[in-house]
């Protein structure tokens, strides 16, 4: 069934755990831009449950159309090229969920996010996760895991990083980490008090950032 067949689902499916984590980082009533908003699940939740002014940008036209049919304000656009159009501090939060690793220039995307919004929330699959390390160490082939399900020749992920790498990028860009949480493969949460453990056991990481 295409998403267009059911414009208003009767009951909303629970948010994916990483999206629920992002939603908790967003203050009610704020202005949010969700970059790579996919089918708009997070946007719809934020708009209806948190009363945020929700906007979305999405690369796939089919997803964009499905979002607009659901009454969400979404445009077709590319994180790599279209963020530069927005004025500075236009939003309270710019969200990029599990998309950074698929952008051509993650550093520039990150810098644009902290420019157009007071806070950036970024989530990504952690390439430092122990299963990824084991896969590479023992099988000697590109890891295929729950969080990284595609094989090397079909994945859109061209800039994978570890928690450690991302922290280093933030430091290089002058971006302050306000909050950081990792989700292990049972979707349990852990903070970043011991970064090397977070980097080992975190399957996905969610960072809330702001410009220093």
């Amino acid at each position: 069934m295409s998403p267009l067949d059911s414009p208003k689902p009767a009951a909303r499916a629970p948010l994916r755990p990483d999206l629920a984590l992002i939603a908790e980082m967003v203050a009610p009533g704020s202005r949010v831009l969700d970059i790579g908003c996919s089918d708009g699940a997070l946007l719809e939740f934020l708009a209806q449950e948190r009363g945020v002014t929700a906007r979305g940008m999405e690369l796939a036209q089919k997803n964009v159309n499905a979002c607009v049919v659901r009454g969400l304000s979404v445009i077709q656009g590319d994180a790599d090229t279209d963020l530069v159009e927005y004025p500075s501090a236009a939003f309270d939060y710019a969200i990029l969920s599990l998309t950074l690793q698929a952008t051509r220039d993650p550093r520039q995307v990150l810098e644009q996010m902290v420019r157009i919004a007071r806070h950036a929330i970024v989530s990504f699959p952690n390439f430092g996760h122990w299963r990824v390390r084991m896969h590479l160490l023992f099988r000697g082939s590109m890891p295929v895991t729950e969080a990284l399900p595609e094989r090397w020749y079909e994945t859109p992920n061209i800039h994978l990083c570890t928690v450690r790498d991302f922290i280093a990028l933030c430091r290089d860009c002058g971006v302050e980490i306000e909050e950081a949480v990792v989700l292990n493969d049972r979707q349990h949460r852990a903070g970043l008090t011991t970064p090397h453990l977070a980097n080992l056991f975190g399957q996905k990481a969610v960072f809330r950032l702001k410009k220093d």
């Binding site: 002014t53 159309n65 607009v68 009454g71 979404v74 236009a90």
Partner: protein
């Protein structure tokens, strides 16, 4: 179809054409003429319009639809001149995206038009003869100023939505730029914030075809009892090609022959596509005024919203409270996605609330008039979302 005739303070005049008797008209500018962009003060003048559905007690459910170059106020129901369904019958009606059981839908024949609103074929009060080329040149902004007068007379302080395709979309953008506090939502469809050189060029071909027709008589054909049918038909044929796409033409006609099995080695309409265009031209001249065609194409040519705002389109929408949904079609080469996207870019630059949808269709520019389910769903979804934000109750 529910035909609601709201009580207004406006002066209603008798419809000026017998075939338009069912239509609504309102007169303006008798005391205070309308200042046009060209510097002429126009008044009195008439606007012909149609309404569908019922205005609610709060007067908050009004949708203004702006028609395209050769459209008119008869969006749905049987057209009084052609006897065919109105141009947006698929979109306006009970249960349709512009739901007349929920919304009060208004469409006004543009100033300069020929379906009851004052235009070059109307009588010039100064001479008692048709205005012809003495009619002042109209702009898209003038059309919108005139519509604003009518909306005021209907007692509507703020339109719930303004929408329209092509030149209608230009009016939508002009409404949002000129009266941002009077528009809750705006849906410009298959349009542009400025008419491109290519589009001006096509219009010029159409105008030259009309003016080259000896029956045009320097524009005074009505006074001479003649009509430049051939010129107007050629203008329509040229324009019609730009409304389609190569794949659509190929799908509809290919190289198929018309009522014959072999080429005639002459200049009759051998091909189906020729026959089709001739038919389009011939039927168009039955319902459209040649001088109106000159004036309205000129209005589109002159449209450049950025130029009015220091050359920067974003300035036209600074701090706009309007919620936008821009729609384009993949095969539209007259108002391509790139032109629509530049509107989106300008709206992003002022952090406006904007949705942007490109609909996959091979029907060309005309797609906004056709049965395109994804387009209907988008429009319905956007309007439903806006109605929720506006606090308009469902049915």
């Amino acid at each position: 179809m529910v035909m609601d005739r709201p009580r207004t303070g406006g002066t209603r005049t008798a419809a000026n054409d017998a075939e338009l008797q069912r239509g609504l008209t309102m007169e303006f500018g008798r005391d205070t003429p309308l200042m046009l962009d060209c510097g002429v003060a126009l008044g009195p003048f008439t606007l012909a319009y149609q309404t569908y559905g019922t205005l609610n007690a709060e007067r908050s459910n009004a949708i203004l639809v702006c028609h395209a170059l050769t459209g008119d106020q008869y969006m749905t129901g049987i057209h009084p001149v052609t006897g065919k369904p109105g141009w947006w019958s698929l979109m306006v009606g009970p249960g349709l995206p512009l739901d007349t059981e929920r919304f009060f839908v208004i469409c006004v024949n543009v100033l300069g038009g020929c379906m009851g609103s004052t235009g070059p074929k109307s009588l010039n009060p100064a001479t008692g003869e048709p205005w012809a080329l003495d009619f002042p040149v109209i702009t898209v902004a003038d059309m919108v100023r005139a519509q604003k007068l009518l909306i005021d007379q209907l007692g509507i302080d703020r339109l719930f939505c303004v929408t329209g395709g092509s030149m209608g979309g230009m009016q939508v953008l002009q409404w949002a730029a000129s009266y941002p506090d009077k528009v809750f939502a705006a849906v410009p469809i298959a349009t542009a914030a400025r008419h491109t050189a290519q589009n001006i060029a096509f219009h010029e071909v159409g105008r030259q075809a009309i003016m080259a027709d000896l029956d045009w008589c320097g524009g005074r054909y009505l006074a001479e009892g003649r009509n430049p049918d051939r010129g107007l038909a050629v203008a329509r044929m040229t324009a019609h090609i730009t409304y389609l796409s190569e794949p659509a033409l190929h799908r509809k006609f290919g190289r198929r022959l018309q009522d014959r099995s072999s080429l005639t080695f002459g200049f009759e309409a051998d091909f189906q596509v020729e026959s089709y265009l001739r038919h389009q031209g011939a039927s168009f001249v039955q319902r459209f005024d040649a001088n109106s065609y000159l004036y309205i194409t000129r209005a589109m040519d002159y449209f450049d919203l950025a130029q009015e705002h220091g050359g920067k389109l974003a300035n036209a929408f600074r701090n706009t409270p309007v919620r936008f949904c821009v729609v384009s079609f993949t095969s539209d080469w007259l108002f391509p996605t790139s032109e629509n996207r530049s509107i989106v870019h300008a709206l992003n630059a002022c952090a406006a609330d904007v949705s942007f949808v490109e609909i996959a269709s091979d029907a060309g520019h005309d797609a906004f008039l056709l049965d395109e389910p994804e387009f209907s769903e988008t429009l319905a979804g956007f309007i439903a979302g806006c109605a929720e934000h506006r606090g308009l109750n469902g049915r």
